[in-house]
């Protein structure tokens, strides 16, 4: 139905040029956020719905600020307060929303592929703000943006991603984006976090953190889902921190000046020690700032032709 509409559903299939154009646009919009008046009229007349079926604070706020700085009208819609809680289907809720004629829907959902389902069924531009274990494309874009900003390029970088790779949409999107951009990717964690077949995605798989970090330009730590602790994936946060957490000693194995990244929110003392989270190498808060810039870029890219038509 809506095949002519541009979406951002994942980074699979995006070309190097397309990713680069998002990063370049992000650079431009980062400037906007640093001005005294942090607002441009670019997306006036555009309505952006933030459709968050799964809880999220930072991603939602980041999209909301991004949309507002572009002068778009925003509307938040959360699962707990909506008709979805009363048993309405996603499709009916989305169609109801469409009757109010939004232009862009930003969706966060616990089920992989839910944004694709929406894109097939409603005539709005869909932005995936995280779908189950599948993808989180704006997170990967802001991660690549941050790397490029600090290290000047992405091609040829050695990037280590550490944590629950199998269940992580952040890892999946970064793997697709970074490999398209020519970086070398290593992933590490306990075997329970590393389902088979990841090596066939063109990444190096390690079951220890040290060899993955050695000589790395970037060390990206993933958040541990504490609800999985003590069950089947890892026994305790103490043990996890000891073997797979990032501390000063392990970080010494990386290249001098290597970036320390984390998509947040942090479990201090588990996947990352507080001193490392706050050290000079850490760009964790910059990731948050760049998130707004990248989301402005994405909204612009998908919304600009709608403005032109208006």
């Amino acid at each position: 139905m809506a095949t002519h509409i541009n979406h951002l559903l994942d980074l699979e299939g995006l070309s190097k040029e397309e990713i680069t154009s998002y990063l370049d646009l992000g650079e431009h919009f980062k400037g906007v956020s640093q001005r005294r008046i942090k607002k441009v009229p670019t997306l006036r007349h555009i309505t952006v719905v933030l459709f968050f079926i799964e809880n999220s604070t930072r991603t939602k706020i980041s999209f909301e600020i991004a949309a507002k700085r572009m002068s778009a009208d925003t509307l938040s819609f959360a699962a707990s307060s909506s008709s979805l809680a009363k048993g309405e289907t996603l499709l009916d809720t989305a169609k109801t929303l469409m009757a109010m004629r939004p232009d862009i829907i930003v969706i966060r959902h616990f089920a992989a592929g839910a944004p694709h389902f929406l894109a097939r069924n409603v005539p709005a531009a869909i932005i995936n703000a995280g779908d189950g274990g599948h993808a989180h494309p704006t997170q990967a874009l802001l991660d690549m943006f941050t790397m490029r900003e600090h290290l000047g390029k992405i091609e040829g970088l050695e990037v280590a991603i550490i944590g629950d790779i199998g269940h992580s949409r952040v890892a999946r999107s970064n793997i697709h984006g970074l490999s398209t951009m020519g970086a070398n990717i290593r992933v590490a964690g306990p075997r329970t976090f590393l389902p088979p077949h990841f090596n066939t995605l063109g990444v190096q798989v390690y079951d220890r953190i040290e060899p993955a970090i050695e000589g790395a330009d970037v060390v990206m730590m993933l958040r541990i889902q504490k609800e999985r602790m003590g069950k089947d994936l890892f026994p305790s946060d103490r043990e996890y921190a000891r073997f797979f957490g990032l501390d000063a000693q392990k970080l010494k194995l990386a290249k001098p000046g290597a970036l320390v990244m984390h998509p947040g929110p942090l479990n201090r003392g588990v996947e990352i020690t507080p001193d490392i989270a706050d050290c000079n190498n850490s760009v964790i808060l910059e990731q948050v700032e760049n998130g707004v810039a990248i989301r402005m870029a994405v909204l612009y890219q998908l919304g600009k032709h709608l403005v032109e038509e208006a």
Partner: protein, 430 residues
């Protein structure tokens, strides 16, 4: 009245013979089979009514070991009347129904209900299966003897896995006492997170998985129990290559097991889930291309002796959901032959093996006569048009289901005529 079907190429899957000829029957039993060229009727006695097959292929009718007609309890998806019409249109004369309805078939009364509804529809022989456990509770024996008396032909717990191996053993022993074979599906739920195959494709899609090992562990358990109890056991809907190896070995050792594959697992592989379209959400999951190829080989060499439709009609509202939340399964009973013909035309499967697995295999397991075209056999026949090019539309289907991954696709070939005990139960118009 005597009737003779003429102008057909006859395929006898039991012997593998293929020849042009005619088949004549009286009172539902074949009384004469002879050779005659295309368009010819042979020597016809007075009073014999002729039916033309218009040069199409004649084979024994199809028998299904695994279909859901959703009644009682889920009539909004399908009922026994609509399912029977769909089955007849698919070339079937006998269909074994899943008993995990609501109420489930776990006693005489529900068995009678199913049989009566089937007789009222009057298109296929509805074969009721009975549950192993009472109310599907997984731990107390259903009244298997009474169900056997009432007409149940096999025992089956639907897609459920009996967690208690000891209970399953008792079911198999007790069922065997009443000469009822057991049909088991194979997935150890403790090894499962979701419903797609675990592999490279799931590494990309991020969908939760049901790895092959969950099936293999269950298959190994079921083979061991069949060997111990000597109960006639059918391992239904096999999807992984490693399971095929286990079954091959068990059969070679004389364990009383047979096995089937669902038609979808012969057609689809796991890449079909990359678009997150819930129409492709099936169980067992479509596995790797390598698995699919080995399943086809297993059908050809007979390790897998039966192809089931696994007909699972669902309503639009069950399927128009996020992949994780959508109902599992696809309607299929009208599409089995077109899908098999697709494999034949692609030279992935030979016609005789394909037909054998929907005629001879399931009949042998249930002990139903027929499956060969010879004097004295029941006149349960199907005429298959192997040439017509058509497009799949829901209006073409008798099923109430609205769930097929093949909507809008073009197929070559379909059922032309279904004959049940000498009576035409389906004829394609135009």
């Amino acid at each position: 009245m005597r009737q003779r079907i003429v102008d057909c190429e006859i395929l006898d899957p039991a012997s593998g013979k293929r020849f042009w000829g005619y088949v004549e029957w009286e009172d539902g039993v074949i009384c004469e089979v002879g050779q005659a060229g295309p368009g010819e009727a042979g020597e016809v006695s007075a009073g014999v009514e002729l039916i033309s097959a218009h040069g199409n292929l004649l084979a024994p009718s199809f028998v299904d070991l695994y279909a859901d007609f959703c009644e009682p309890g889920f009539e909004y998806r399908e009922n026994i009347a609509s399912g029977s019409a769909a089955a007849a249109a698919g070339g079937y004369t006998h269909v074994l129904l899943r008993p995990d309805t609501d109420p489930c078939v776990d006693g005489e009364d529900t068995v009678r209900f199913v049989l009566e509804a089937g007789a009222k529809a009057g298109l296929v022989n509805v074969l009721p299966a009975g549950c192993l456990s009472r109310k599907l509770d997984g731990e107390s024996l259903a009244e298997i003897g009474e169900m056997a008396d009432a007409g149940v032909v096999a025992l089956l717990e639907g897609d459920r896995y009996l967690k208690k191996g000891g209970f399953l053993r008792r079911c198999m022993e007790y069922g065997d006492n009443f000469h009822l074979p057991v049909i088991l599906t194979n997935e150890d739920p403790t090894l499962v997170e979701g419903v797609v195959h675990e592999g490279l494709v799931s590494a990309i899609s991020g969908l939760k998985t049901s790895p092959s090992v969950a099936e293999e562990v269950a298959v190994a358990r079921h083979i061991a129990l069949a060997e111990l109890t000597r109960a006639k056991t059918h391992l239904a809907k096999i999807s992984s290559a490693a399971s095929v190896r286990l079954i091959k070995d068990a059969k070679a050792r004389g364990v009383p097991v047979t096995a089937s594959v669902a038609i979808h697992n012969l057609i689809l592989n796991d890449t079909s889930t990359l678009g997150y379209d819930p129409m492709f959400k099936i169980w067992p999951p479509a596995r790797s291309e390598e698995d699919r190829k080995l399943l086809l080989e297993a059908v050809i060499d007979g390790t897998i002796d039966t192809i089931v439709s696994d007909h699972s009609p669902k309503a639009t509202e069950d399927k128009e959901l996020e992949f994780d939340l959508a109902a599992t399964g696809a309607l299929s009973i009208e599409l089995v032959f077109p899908l098999l013909n697709k494999l034949v035309l692609a030279e992935e499967l030979d016609l005789v093996s394909a037909i054998r697995a929907v005629t001879v295999g399931p009949r042998r397991f249930l002990g139903i006569a027929g499956g060969e075209i010879a004097k004295g056999q029941p006149a349960d026949l199907v005429v298959l048009d192997r040439n017509t090019d058509w497009e799949l539309d829901y209006f073409e289907l008798r099923s109430r289901g609205r769930n097929t991954p093949f909507l809008g696709q073009r197929f070559v070939g379909r059922t032309y005529l279904t004959i049940n005990r000498g009576r035409v139960t389906f004829r394609r118009d135009g």
